[in-house]
């Protein structure tokens, strides 16, 4: 489904990702772990098409299509989703209106009329309220302005709420667990698990192993200095938890 080949990425002329290869299949959960500054978040942003990063070499394909020529909205329409590490605030725009516009935009295919509505206000309200409940949030949230004045934990939950509503083919979760207390980690993990039956692939980027107790990965990759240096199963995460990253670093040096 998602295939990354020999990807090299730079920002302001400095190479951050130095040759990453990765394949994420339908319904599989891949965790990418690594110390700060290893290029994990860069990978997440590049996958979704942040204009700040420059792809120097390599390819990204999704369902066989060349992702690198697509704008972020085209990637979203193709079924990709990024849960942001630092969700952006948008003043004056309610979560409800924003998400309904996104839902309409994603689900009306290649219709010429981008404003075309594919869901009525009432039906969308129902859908949104259902998902809000799943994430144990207060209903009033959906009428608040997007991320404005939300706590760090609330922002992360809202990212997963968006994920649940937009229902993509692949979810890239960028440090979704960072800054969350353990109860919130559980709620967020439940939200993701709830979508797993749908063939959704997951690329879970994390610094810590703790979220992997609740979202069981099929594969674990370790990223250091812009490269995936080790891949394995769930047990790799356990090892990292016990021994840290140094033993891997030593192994590659």
């Amino acid at each position: 489904m998602l295939e990354i080949k020999d990807l090299h990425v730079s920002i302001d002329g400095k190479e951050i990702i130095k040759g990453v290869n990765l394949k994420v299949e339908k319904g599989k959960i891949h965790a990418i772990m690594g110390p700060n500054g290893s290029g994990k978040s860069t990978l997440a942003n590049v996958l979704m098409g942040h204009p700040k990063y420059k792809v120097e070499k390599g390819s990204i394909t999704f369902d066989g299509k060349n992702v690198l020529v697509m704008t972020p909205d085209q990637r979203a329409k193709a079924g990709m989703f990024l849960a942001f590490q630092y969700p952006v605030e948008v003043a004056g725009v309610s979560l409800f209106n924003f998400l309904r516009a996104a839902y309409n935009s994603i689900n009306n295919g290649h219709a010429k009329n981008i404003e075309k509505e594919v869901i009525s206000v009432l039906d969308f309200q129902k859908l949104l309220k259902e998902k809000v409940k799943l994430l144990q949030m207060d209903e009033s949230f959906i009428y608040r302005h997007l991320n404005e004045g939300f706590s760090g934990g609330e922002k992360k939950r809202v990212e997963i709420l968006q994920l649940a509503v937009l229902n993509p083919k692949i979810a890239i979760l960028d440090e979704t667990d960072s800054g969350l207390d353990i109860d919130s980690v559980k709620i967020v993990a439940n939200g993701v698990n709830d979508l797993k039956g749908t063939d959704m692939g997951v690329l879970l980027i994390t610094h810590y192993q703790r979220i992997l107790k609740y979202i069981k990965p099929d594969y674990v990759h370790v990223m250091i200095n812009g490269k995936i240096v080790k891949s394995g199963g769930e047990d790799l995460a356990e090892q990292l938890e016990q021994k840290g990253y140094d033993w891997i670093k030593e192994g590659i040096e």
Binding site: D73, G92, S105, I114, H145
Partner: protein, 470 residues
């Protein structure tokens, strides 16, 4: 360039269309005492009261004597000799839309006025070029003593109220353009709300320019008696012409003790209109005056709604929003004079500039020596959508009493890559994402106006945003 043409085209279809001109009278091109004489003669069968005629002539002297303002926007392109100052449409004022000539009625139908009147308005006045062609107030309000008529009728039927307040809030020698209006004014609204009467649904006036090369100079006078409450809304549009038009209105508001007046403007002139307007209110003890002012159209707007807080506990709230696109300069803001103790005010300005457009905030805050415990806050937020657009602020403060609490905040923002990326990553196109940020930026305004107008306002913004990407 193509984008601009597209915007004009879409404006033209929705608002900028013109209908067959069936004028029955007009003044000769240009401005002189003769112009004033002609206007006075055109008014009614016997012409105007002599005191109004004299008022006009005196104002015209002031107008000629005063230099053009050297501040604000570029006024050099206004040619006072190449304007028709008065055009009388071929109809008398009617109280039934069916009696309004079809081409005129059709204009207001397309602008949605009769429909809005049915749904959620207490009364409507519709002006076509220089005269009001339709005026109607709900019977229930008429019975309560509410007056909502055009100024000519106000003068004829209610001279005692009219004469008492007319020209007292904005004197005819106040500024060059107030003088011009005082000399050649025609049309507008005269409103009186009796003591304690609350008008639940808004009164609306709509000002339409149809003819080319015209000046529109309506005059609005609102008196809200003690403890009364009213919301007045005005809208305006014009056809797209290559020749420029001039709109120069004067609005006078008197809020007697405990009265509450809200005055909302949705200014959507075509981009060939100079919009130079003087709006001022006097607020007495415990009165509240709110200006909710949106400027989207015109080539140049210079407008600073003001409130004189003349009684203890009076309050002023000014919300000014502006959108300036290619070839537009919105020089707007607000002025508050705290002339009594315990008065409070708030000025909020929000502006967006795009495609080389320019917005300016110009504000004045005055606190008199005897005005103790004044509280005031000013906030200006500007959003620039590209590198070629401009925004600037000119806040002036004259604080003569040290017990005043004044806060001032100003921000200038740009839509960042991160914000666009976030919205686009959810499937919104770049244009949709930009729209959303701008509509969100103006939300503080949209939530202050009735839903139907908020929807129209958001549509206007989207229209202005068309072709942002490319």
């Amino acid at each position: 360039m193509k984008q601009t043409l597209d915007i004009n085209k879409e404006y033209e279809e929705k608002y900028g269309f013109k209908v067959k001109d069936s004028r029955v009278a007009e003044t000769k091109l240009g401005l002189s005492t003769r112009t004033v004489d002609e206007i006075s003669d055109f008014k009614g069968e016997k012409g105007e009261y002599e005191w109004i005629h004299q008022f006009r002539l005196k104002a015209l002297e002031h107008f000629f004597a005063r230099p053009m303002p050297a501040w604000g926007g570029d006024l050099s392109k206004i040619n006072f000799d190449d304007i028709i100052y008065y055009i009388k449409p071929g109809t008398k004022m009617r109280e039934d839309w069916n009696d309004v000539p079809p081409e005129v009625k059709n204009t207001f139908d397309r602008l949605g006025i009769p429909e809005a009147e049915k749904k959620f308005l207490s009364g409507v006045g519709a002006q076509f070029d220089s005269e009001v062609v339709y005026h109607k107030l709900k019977e229930k309000l008429e019975k309560q003593g509410v007056i909502f008529v055009d100024p000519d009728t106000g003068l004829q039927k209610y001279p005692h109220i009219f004469k008492k307040y007319f020209g007292t809030v904005v004197p005819s020698d106040d500024n060059k353009f107030a003088s011009l209006n005082s000399a050649v004014f025609s049309g507008g609204s005269f409103i009186y709300i009796p003591k304690g009467v609350h008008v639940d649904m808004p009164l609306q006036a709509y000002f339409r320019i149809n003819a080319e090369g015209i000046g529109q100079f309506e005059r609005t006078l609102i008196i809200a008696d003690e403890g009364s409450k009213v919301h007045y809304i005005e809208g305006c549009t014009a056809p797209v012409y290559s020749k420029s038009s001039l709109h120069s209105a004067v609005v006078e508001i008197v809020a007697l003790p405990g009265a509450h007046i809200r005055y909302t403007t949705l200014q959507n002139w075509s981009k060939n209109v100079f919009n130079l307007v003087t709006k001022r209110a006097h607020a007495f003890e415990g009165a509240i005056v709110e200006w909710v002012d949106a400027n989207i159209g015109s080539c140049l707007t210079m407008k600073y709604p003001s409130v004189y807080l003349k009684g203890r506990n009076a309050r002023a709230d000014i919300l000014s929003v502006a959108f300036a696109g290619d070839g537009q300069h919105q020089d707007a803001g607000g002025k508050v004079y705290h002339l009594a103790p315990d008065t409070t005010s708030r000025i909020t300005s929000k502006s967006v500039s795009k495609d080389g457009g320019r917005t300016s905030y110009r504000g004045l805050l005055f606190v008199a020596k005897n005005a103790t415990n004044v509280k005031s806050s000013v906030r200006c937020d500007a959003l620039l959508l590209d590198e070629i657009s401009k925004t600037d602020t000119y806040p002036y403060n004259q604080i003569n009493n040290e017990t005043a609490t004044i806060t001032h905040e100003a921000t200038v923002g740009k839509i960042g890559d991160d914000q666009l990326f976030y919205l686009m990553s959810r499937g919104l196109t770049e244009e949709q994402a930009l729209n959303m940020v701008v509509v969100g930026f103006f939300e503080a305004f949209a939530k202050e106006i009735p839903l139907e107008y908020a929807i129209e306002f958001n549509k206007l913004i989207q229209l202005e945003m068309t072709g942002s990407v490319g």
